[in-house]
Symmetry: C2
Subunit: 365 residues, 2 copies
């Protein structure tokens, strides 16, 4: 019931809506791999369940889960969360799942990107990623939505759009040789235009320091409405993040969006640098074919990695001195949405945050 | 999104509709186990795909499939069939899946029976059946329909209803000590009333000869409309089936339905006795914990094992001299439905037929 369409969304009049446009719901995946999530995934499962519980106050949440965890996920989640069997190698719905596009008649379709676990055999996070590659198609089958297959390796977290023709991304990730070494910048831009219906791309140089995704934009910077972006920031000139945020700031200030507007840039101060503790690292399986997460490693904490739900912002918090400022800033940027804070260190330990583990499905007609 | 409801369908005003009432669609499961389906399941997969293809001409079909067969099932099935990941131990959607109930407002809910693989550890078909036990709940999660958990071991193929309060079943199956040894006939009747909203139960003695389900009624006899049933028959007095059909005929002729009507009984002559060939048996894995299917074993062939789709009858055929008569009789009994014939020996080799591998979901409001 999900037909593979041979043309492109742009050719068919489809575009990726902004995250703040109305959602039909949100897709998540249940964490369980023991080399990503400490202590058998139990602390992460509690954190994911809390994210699902909070989002489900505002919109339908579907949790995809490997067969062996079906009963446990069902038991951990409130009844209003839909739990479906949907195998994956890890739990990053943003990066693995379909990216949804809509047309002016309110039809919804999905884009299925190629995926290589954030870098493939050399620098990727794990092997194999065979189940991840089928997640988008399976989501679209369940919803009976048609599917486009995009001819490039890309994760949903490496782009943000304003829904009006502008796309934000980073050179570090989208031009990384471990993604699409045979595609030029112009070819990648063409694919983004074809598959997301965007007209103008703003390239930022690098993502967040020590972000293991090779610099996904969704941990660094996002649109909050057309013409307005939020950027992770630090006042600490000795922090390697300072240079990255500053160069992104400069790029944003010199950019124009698809409508020709200059961008209003809001800095959101990052949490203080955090590292993985020995107790946390000791809870992880060592797996030769996967990324090693040693104690003492810096975690790529950022408040930018929030999710925009219908009527709410689901915001990561870190028991940090900057938590309250982030909450206040988001309340100012989204005055008509409830700001829902979630203690998110467990998600960060796995290498991402709330935006990385969610994927909005736009409301159809 | 599928809430477990603690009351019963009857108490909440729900009933199981007759199969001829309007469907939202049909659920199937993809065959793959190599001790049930010869030659790696490939011939059976072709047969199941043909059943799905034909039914999908009339109503939505959802095919549940184990993760490892997702891509293959997707490739073998037409795009209009929805393919979802849904693990099972074998492919009998009728027996494993939810039984759907409706109320007068058109709300739809599901009944989740207990399951022990047609008899449990002693006489059941295989071990384990852990995935089968979750199929009904997973179907209901996908559809976001609420669920009742019935406190008895039962398969959907062991009952038929007229949608007006009457249920047909067999003593051989429902009173078999390998299903619910601690429940009396009266207690079983009470559960059937509570969970299917029926008022009157017609007990037939035995099912079809050598039917490995312990005599499921859906291979023997079914309603074709209120007050009218079809019964598998043989004129051969030396066939052990003759006695079984004759005693069922007598039981039917002496019965009244819930509305007090006598039943009109239509005999449909069975195909000539068939046995599994050596070539067929040689294609099966031998598995100690599963039912052995030796060459020479009689197959429980019956034309009664058809599926009523919206506007069609999906009818098994066996390249048998009685095929045409069965087609004619069904056309007479269902004058406004297209009779779709499917060559079904491959399904029969696994121990059932078209009705056993399908499960209708009634149309809601």
């Amino acid at each position: 019931m999900s037909t593979l369409i041979q043309s492109t969304p742009h050719a068919d009049g489809f575009r990726m809506p902004a995250e703040w446009e109305a959602h039909a719901g949100c897709w998540m995946l249940w964490p369980e791999r023991r080399d990503t999530w400490r202590y058998g995934g139990k602390p992460a499962q509690r954190a994911f369940a809390e994210v699902a519980r909070q989002i489900s106050r505002f919109e339908r949440v579907t949790m995809g889960v490997n067969g062996g965890q079906f009963q446990n996920a069902r038991a951990q989640l409130p009844p209003r969360v839909r739990v479906v069997e949907l195998s994956s190698n890890d739990a990053w719905s943003r990066d693995i799942g379909a990216t949804f596009v809509v047309n002016d008649m309110g039809e919804v379709r999905g884009v299925d990107w190629q995926f290589n676990a954030w870098g493939g055999l050399e620098k990727g996070m794990y092997f194999p990623w065979d189940k991840d590659e089928l997640v988008a198609a399976k989501m679209l089958e369940i919803e009976a939505l048609d599917r486009y297959q995009a001819p490039l390796i890309m994760e949903g977290g490496s782009i943000h759009v304003d829904g009006q023709g502008t796309l934000l991304t980073t050179e570090q990730c989208l031009l990384h040789p471990n993604r699409n070494p045979n595609l030029s910048r112009a070819e990648i831009e063409q694919h983004l235009s074809d598959y997301l219906g965007v007209k103008h791309i703003i390239w930022l140089p690098r993502g967040v320091y020590e972000d293991e995704t090779d610099g996904h934009v969704d941990n660094l910077c996002c649109f909050t409405r057309p013409g307005v972006v939020a950027l992770t920031w630090t006042d600490d000139r000795d922090d390697p993040q300072r240079e990255r945020s500053a160069e992104a700031y400069d790029a944003l200030k010199s950019a124009r969006d698809a409508a020709g507007r200059a961008l209003e840039v809001h800095k959101i101060h990052q949490p203080d640098p955090m590292t993985m503790t020995k107790e946390e690292a000791d809870g992880l399986d060592v797996v030769v074919s996967a990324f090693l997460r040693p104690a003492g490693e810096r975690l790529a904490g950022s408040y930018i990695n929030f999710y925009i739900a219908n009527g709410a912002i689901i915001l990561p918090q870190f028991q940090d001195r900057y938590d309250a400022a982030a909450r206040r800033k988001l309340a100012e940027l989204f005055p008509r949405r409830e700001i829902v804070s979630i203690s998110a260190r467990e998600i960060l330990l796995g290498g991402g945050n709330i935006h990385c583990i969610t994927q909005q499905q736009p409301a159809g007609r």
